[in-house]
Symmetry: C2
Subunit: 469 residues, 2 copies
């Protein structure tokens, strides 16, 4: 009987056990075509003697090879290399060169970045957050590490419910709230609830990320112009849209706050057809510097037409991947029926920490502190921008973390942004927020001040003054 030569060099000092070494050697020989289909292997006893290892070691290696399909054990005949034609075939298919995408080019050297998205983390109560986390971990039991409810923990939903009612006039029950890991995720989930091919209306300019999500959901999107009161409902009526995505409290990036009349018009539009809904993105409603913040659009809705979305990423910290969505009852029913199986994307531990942070009043205190900070920066930047008033109309103030500069000298946005860049200051172009661009769009710049210090705001604006005014 011809026995195949198996020339295994065993390395007893190796990390790998001997049986793995034998297994890997034979496997690789088969893969390489050195052991051919239907060839017989030496008996386990023979190989064990040959290699000076125990019989069990060889048995384990052979078992493994059989269980992975490389070998076949034929009763009373021994072990054979499997006769799968595909064992070698795979190499005939040309190996496609795996292209690696380019690394993104280096960030330009910018000294002052007036980003409208960045937020100030200098005042974040790290110590408090750590203390809460520690306390929760001390008491944490296995329950805390188990999977929570798909909609989010009831405790946190109840807290959010109260908070939203008190601060934003939102009328809802905890059962209507769905907690998720960020707005992007909630919009993906909402797609599953609303269904396919939903025609969406959006303001133009708008929050580009939301637009991209709708487009990646293959939703047709109609862009609706705005006047000084926000989205123009008569234009909305001329579309087939059945869902409108709006930011009534503080439109991003124009800063427009929608007055009650326009809101009611919008609610009326939604109430006229069973399938119409409004998505209210209340992304930074916490930061308004004069008067009480406007209540939410949802607060005026008596017909279950508003999906209210908010986030703690903006009001606490970007790393807090916790957002919430309030579903009106008709959509809640659809969610339960069709999407209730999607498991929660936020860990219970994180939900518990946030819940205590809010319940113990830290959130409110932090918001108050940040409101004061942002208001002072807001007043500072408006003051520093006074000399700009001959060259720009300044707007979008009283809320949020950025102001708008509209050129009145007929210069181009690109030109203005490039001049700023030369001065190592990054300002943002309104063009980048417009989905549909027109040749007669006014040249506008966004200057965000949220993340900059008072000194940085002064210095950055001083640099801009030299070149733009």
């Amino acid at each position: 009987m011809k026995e195949l030569p198996i020339h295994i060099q065993l390395h007893p000092e190796d990390n790998k056990t001997l049986y793995i070494q034998i297994y890997e050697y034979i496997r690789d020989e088969i893969r390489a075509g050195n052991l051919l289909q239907n060839e017989k292997l030496p008996s386990a006893r023979f190989l064990a003697e040959d290699l000076q290892v125990s019989r069990t070691t060889v048995d384990m290696a052979y078992d493994q090879l059989v269980s992975e399909g490389y070998l076949e054990a034929r009763p009373r005949r021994g072990y054979f290399v499997s006769a799968y034609e595909e064992l070698n075939v795979i190499d005939e298919i040309p190996y496609r060169e795996m292209r690696k995408p380019q690394d993104k080019k280096e960030e330009e050297s910018i000294r002052y970045d007036f980003s409208p998205n960045a937020i100030d983390m200098r005042y974040f109560p790290y110590a408090t957050w750590k203390k809460i986390t520690k306390n929760i971990l001390v008491d944490a039991n296995s329950k805390m590490f188990s999977l929570g409810e798909p909609q989010g923990d009831l405790n946190l939903r109840t807290t959010i419910c109260r908070y939203l009612h008190g601060s934003r006039g939102v009328n809802c029950e905890p059962e209507q709230i769905i907690i998720g890991a960020g707005n992007d995720y909630l919009l993906l989930l909402l797609e599953k609830i609303l269904g396919r091919h939903v025609h969406v209306a959006m303001e133009n300019p708008t929050y580009i990320r939301a637009y991209r999500i709708f487009r990646s959901c293959a939703y047709p999107v109609s862009l609706i112009p705005m006047d000084e009161n926000g989205i123009m409902v008569e234009c909305l009526r001329r579309t087939d849209a059945r869902v409108a995505y709006v930011m009534p409290s503080h439109q991003y990036p124009t800063g427009i706050s929608m007055p009650i009349g326009r809101r009611l018009e919008l609610l009326k539009w939604a109430a006229e057809e069973k399938d119409r809904y409004l998505i209210e993105d209340d992304y930074d409603s916490e930061f308004r510097y004069r008067g009480k913040p406007l209540p939410s659009l949802q607060a005026s809705d008596h017909n279950g037409k508003v999906v209210y979305i908010g986030t703690f990423s903006k009001s606490i910290a970007p790393a807090i991947r916790i957002s919430y969505m309030v579903l009106p009852y008709p959509l809640l029913e659809k969610y339960r029926k069709e999407c209730g199986f999607y498991s929660s994307t936020v860990s219970r531990l994180d939900q518990t920490i946030l819940n205590e942070f809010i319940q113990d009043g830290y959130f409110e205190r932090y918001l108050n502190k940040m409101r004061k900070q942002y208001r002072e920066k807001h007043d500072l930047i408006l003051n520093e921008l006074k000399p700009f008033e001959k060259a720009f109309r300044i707007s979008g103030s009283n809320a949020g973390q950025h102001v708008l500069l509209t050129d009145v000298k007929g210069r181009k946005e690109e030109e203005l942004a490039n001049m700023a860049k030369e001065a190592k200051v990054k300002v943002y172009r309104m063009q980048d927020f417009r989905i549909e661009k027109n040749s007669d769009d006014p040249a506008m710049l966004l200057l965000g001040y949220g993340a900059l210090s008072f000194e940085e705001i002064k210095e950055g604006i001083a640099l801009l003054k030299k070149i733009l005014v």
Copy 2:
């Protein structure tokens, strides 16, 4: 000049500031129609005197009402109720009764739940996890609380990459890994990468949650029968599917492990067309009790055809909402182009904790401990099930956390499950994992043992023995 009567009862001891009380009173009067469109309000000075409050208080209330659109300030004339026709219209639309979904009925009183999904948390190293969290919080800076990379932190991706290569033979670069809050989320993201109307093939029975997700993505799904080596590729070839979702290491719930020959057949199928892909859900590959775990399907793929998905929810704790997906380069390119803007669903803090847990060797140690635990439970349940062998064929062992009982006495699944329920033992029906059911499906029960203690397994099986054997 006629001044409107404003009969506000102010409550200085109230939580609400005086200006809010005035604001709310007037707002509600307008909403109720008691103050009519275009009616003039008392001057701020007059109202302040009348109410015995400061002029500023009334100014603030009026400012708020103007900014919300309830009032209009007409220069040199005073404040008027706005003339929006919609202010009252909204009440004409019938208020739809908001139906609240029923509460789900109470869980039946079950003493022993042989769930195939539940995992044992008794040995989770809570103390270690807490220690790591504390240490990270001590050093945590604002960076830790900022938004991380959309794909997940590079450190964690590098660690996962090494872990997957060492334990599962996965060949990838950290740049191919996407970290997300759970498998459900990653499948939603994958939908955006693969595109719409993707025809998917699945094993039957299969992981129902994945099936539901594909259906909620409106993907047509073809169900492919399995033989003892898993999904039958010749049946797959008879469909138009371009993506197949498979669990080669340990098919859920049948426990079938796909041998190398079948794997290569499957890879060959995928390599034949540019757009074909395999989704490998390697959900509990960590738990195999004889021999070395089979390497992943991805390990044998030389053509960039396998999307590899795994999770820490199963191997660490369900509360750890961290899963990962390895994209082949063609799909990675699509992800970067079309989905790169979706922000990460996992906080940096959680990613950092997990990274240290793995890097410092705790994960490996925990896995070893759990493997031992599960193996002992596995051996125990097989032993306790010996008397069942006259009534059932017992299979699906050697891996995972459940075994399968196939009735050989011609009884019905429902009958068997109900008998168990009477004895206060919950067993699981194979029917619930079959998407397409046939009248000649054998009656099969799933008995999961992962979360039960040794005592509970013994007692539960003893109760079942009395009624099922």
